[in-house]
């Protein structure tokens, strides 16, 4: 029987691994490894290996549905579209376009994201955002400010050229497993690896030196490192004077951060801080890798700036083996941002509060008056829904009821909406709250481009037909737009990409024809441009071509421990699950390996609470209580507990305290207490 191999991009994390789906008689029969892929070289993490299990899950949404009270009934596409256009249209007409909110998805393709934000803005609403808000909004803000671009500066395989890899706030061994291959390769060539994390994670196993810092104290650690580097004259003076400004401010800002003082704040021994500072600054090529451990804080933007400052004063940027490498979460979180599915940016990071931007897109979108001004962010939309400032929402492929902090509160807010439409592949917790649910196609059932964390834009092919009446997000958005009187005439993803090529300069040369295995890395300004793996090698896209060293001060996390809540709860991911778990918890071979929510607790903390390994415990914060199984381990320090957020319970507990600028919630620090369930 003829078997065809269809090249696709893994639907999970942002590493952008490629693999082939083997298709026989219209059915996916297996996965074949893509050995020629530049980033994963064929290898896949457990999630990637189990990717097809999700496609054939029994839980897939097959038909459009509407809710009557607590009952769901199947409806036709025509009826569904009518309900959606009526629901959204009524709000826009009666309350104004800004009373409608659109949540795009970092799981959708670039083309879909582009269309969703175009839909929102064409309807006059400024409120479009995506879940990048929950992971890397501080990177977008902080890196745009300091470096002038918000992507990973160097591609993943370039890690192999690094001589010192500093991982802070990232458990990449579990979350972006294929990166470990490149880190090992660097180690084989003599690189040293430093990992800073509140937990002794699997990533820490890779480390030559491990710094177990208190959650939320990153700025203190980074500032102290910079003070050591400045005091010991390990800065790159030539680079500072040629390519940066603001260094003098930094010198002043960090002068009080002695290693001893930082040791008090962070819990990391002063001598280790000095050692790490020297290792990082002296190495001929040092790279910093970070992810949610840096961003999911009220000080998220500060943390990111601090990371950028460290790279700038040592000149560890713009060259092979160096750089600032934010590891994104979802497979297309980079692309969703590039495509302008953000409250503050139109496509190509054109500022939404600039009238010129509205004018520019207005000309090509034949909608004369596009809204000007920053819209509500994803998290703000929830608040707005609560207090009536938002009346209708269109949520594509996101599950805020599960993934946002203080999820019980989120549910209340969403229920407060006049109209909610959710478009997804499963009946998620959020979909349960909707008025209309639209069945979407999974990644294997549609085509389009995804932009991985290393800015690699890759084409993923359609391998299968969607089940039932499910349709691709692209088709659905076009249908919704047409039903609301907009001219969204796009026969396929390629035609949308062609429009993106015209409007987004960094994507100009990334045309459908040029996208083979491995794709192209933006910026790619013309069709004969090879792409730009390393950013900032010829200056920065900021005023004078200089990067901005923007000093920050340590601020404690929003919540502190007290007598009622004596422990710090921090959250993260494990290898076999992904994010809120809507996919991985429907994947038997993954579920089998990690079926239960657990909480890691240090033996010193567990003993007085009479908690033994495997006990069922209750974890409580101001916002709620969750049951989990105790895992007694010294991977976490005394005073800190850890829970993965793949299970519904975790985000009952987390706080919605946000970073002032980037609006990201502080998932990583919450005060809690734990008791044994008897």
């Amino acid at each position: 029987m003829s078997k065809s191999l269809v090249s696709t991009i893994c639907p999970y994390c942002a590493a952008g691994c490629g693999f082939y789906v083997a298709v026989e008689k219209g059915r996916a029969t297996g996965i074949e490894y893509m050995l020629e892929h530049p980033a994963n070289e064929g290898s896949l993490c457990p999630k990637g290996n189990a990717a097809l299990e999700v496609v054939y899950s029994e839980d897939r949404l097959l038909y459009p549905m509407k809710r009557n009270g607590n009952e769901w009934s199947r409806i036709s596409w025509d009826e569904a579209l009518k309900l959606v256009s009526k629901g959204l249209g009524r709000t826009i007409k009666n309350s104004g376009p800004d009373f409608a909110g659109f949540l795009s998805s970092s799981k959708c393709t670039n083309e879909e994201n582009y269309l969703i934000q175009k839909l929102a803005r064409s309807l006059g609403s400024r409120n479009v955002d995506n879940c990048a808000r929950l992971c890397h909004a501080p990177s977008v803000v902080g890196l745009n400010r300091t470096l002038g671009a918000a992507g990973m500066t160097n591609p993943i395989p370039d890690l192999a050229n690094s001589k010192c890899i500093f991982v802070i706030g990232s458990n990449l061994a579990e979350n972006h497993a294929i990166l470990s291959r490149w880190i090992h390769r660097a180690k084989d060539r003599g690189a040293q690896v430093i990992v800073a994390d509140p937990r002794l994670t699997h990533t820490a196993w890779l480390a030559d030196l491990f710094l177990q810092l208190k959650p939320g104290t990153d700025v203190a650690l980074l500032n102290a490192m910079m003070k050591v580097i400045i005091d010991e004259d390990l800065v790159d003076k030539a680079f500072i004077s040629k390519s940066t400004k603001g260094f003098e401010d930094l010198v002043k800002a960090v002068k009080d951060y002695t290693p001893e003082k930082a040791a008090e704040i962070t819990g990391v021994p002063a001598k280790d801080i000095v050692k790490v500072a020297r290792m990082y600054a002296k190495s001929p090529a040092s790279a910093i890798l970070y992810s949610m451990g840096i961003t999911q804080h009220t000080s998220g933007t500060d943390n990111v700036q601090s990371v950028a400052n460290l790279a700038l004063i040592t000149g560890q940027i713009g060259k092979e083996g160096t750089g600032v490498l934010p590891l994104r979460g979802h497979n297309n979180v980079q692309g969703a941002c590039d495509m302008g599915a953000l409250a503050e940016f139109y496509p190509g990071y054109r500022k939404s509060d600039d009238p010129e931007t509205a004018k520019f897109f207005g000309q090509t979108w034949d909608t004369i008056s596009l809204p000007v001004g920053r819209g509500l962010t994803a998290t703000e939309m929830i608040d707005a829904a609560c207090n009536g400032e938002l009346k209708a929402m269109y949520i594509v492929g996101e599950d805020p009821a599960n993934s946002d902090p203080w999820s019980s509160h989120v549910k209340d807010c969403l229920e407060n909406l006049d109209f909610l439409v959710v478009q997804d592949i499963f009946m998620t917790a959020t979909a349960q709250l909707a008025d209309v649910v639209l069945p979407a196609a999974s990644w294997a059932e549609k085509e389009g481009t995804y932009t991985s964390t290393e800015r690699r834009v890759q084409w993923s092919n359609r391998a299968l037909e969607p089940p039932g009446e499910a349709k691709s997000d692209l088709e659905i958005v076009c249908m919704v737009a047409k039903s609301m009187g907009l001219n969204f005439d796009y026969p396929d993803a390629a035609s949308v990409l062609a429009e993106i090529n015209r409007l987004v300069p960094t994507y100009k040369g990334i045309t459908r024809e040029r996208l083979g295995i491995g794709g192209l890395i933006w910026p790619c300004p013309s069709t004969d441009h090879p792409g730009t793996p390393i950013l900032h090698s010829a200056g920065f896209k900021l005023q004078d071509g200089r990067a901005l060293i923007a000093p920050v001060q340590y601020k404690p996390a929003a919540e502190d421990t007290g007598t009622e809540y004596p422990l710090i709860l921090t959250t993260g991911r494990i290898a076999v699950h992904f994010n809120a778990g809507s996919m991985t918890r429907r994947s038997p071979s993954l579920m089998e390996r990690a079926p239960n929510l657990f909480v890691e607790i240090n033996p010193e903390d567990a003993a007085p609470l009479r908690i033994n390994d495997g006990d069922s415990v209750e974890v409580t914060t101001e916002r709620g209580t969750t049951t989990a199984l105790a895992r007694v381990t010294d991977s976490v320090k005394q005073g800190v507990v850890f829970m993965p957020f793949h299970y519904p319970g975790t985000n009952f507990l987390t706080t919605d305290a946000r970073d002032a600028e980037a609006k990201i919630p502080e998932f990583k620090v919450a005060a809690c207490n734990i008791v044994r369930r008897d």
Binding site: L44, E174, S589
Partner: protein, 146 residues
């Protein structure tokens, strides 16, 4: 056909090999990753021992040495389970009938090797040793100098 070697210094405990092995063997996986107190992980699977205890224990002739490989023939298995008892590594599995690592024959490279993100698994027996030696050498020579 080369057996699989583990460089435990590289294993990150992601269990990709487990999932991949199960995927290609119709739901019956032959790899077990043991994570030890969150400090290290060891993927355990058939070592294809030169003098394999399982083959000696097997009196139905289902388990035999086939060059490098300890091969298993489902047709001959009587499900007595002696192989499972004999294997010192606990990597011959019984689910009524026995099943075990077949090195993904007839593929040249076993699936677990291909999928391992950290390249902890390889079928180049010298590679792991070479890396270990390079590590030890670096520690000796560069130890104090970096």
């Amino acid at each position: 056909m080369m057996r699989v070697y583990v460089d435990i210094n590289r294993c990150i405990g992601c269990r990709s090999c487990e999932v991949a092995c199960k995927r290609v063997h119709g739901g019956k996986g032959h790899v077990n990753v043991h994570i030890s107190e969150d400090r290290a992980s060891v993927p355990l699977f058939c070592h294809h021992c030169e003098e394999a205890a399982c083959t000696m224990a097997c009196y139905s002739g289902a388990l035999t040495k086939d060059g490098e490989r300890t091969s298993f023939s489902l047709d001959k298995c009587t499900g007595c389970g002696l192989c499972r008892l004999a294997c010192p590594f606990g990597v011959v599995w019984t689910d009524k009938l026995a099943h075990k690592c077949d090195l993904c024959a007839p593929n040249e490279t076993p699936t677990c090797v291909l999928t391992c993100p950290a390249q902890a698994l390889s079928n180049d027996y010298e590679l792991a040793l070479k890396r270990a030696r390079a590590r030890a050498g670096r520690a000796t020579i560069l130890g104090g100098k970096r």
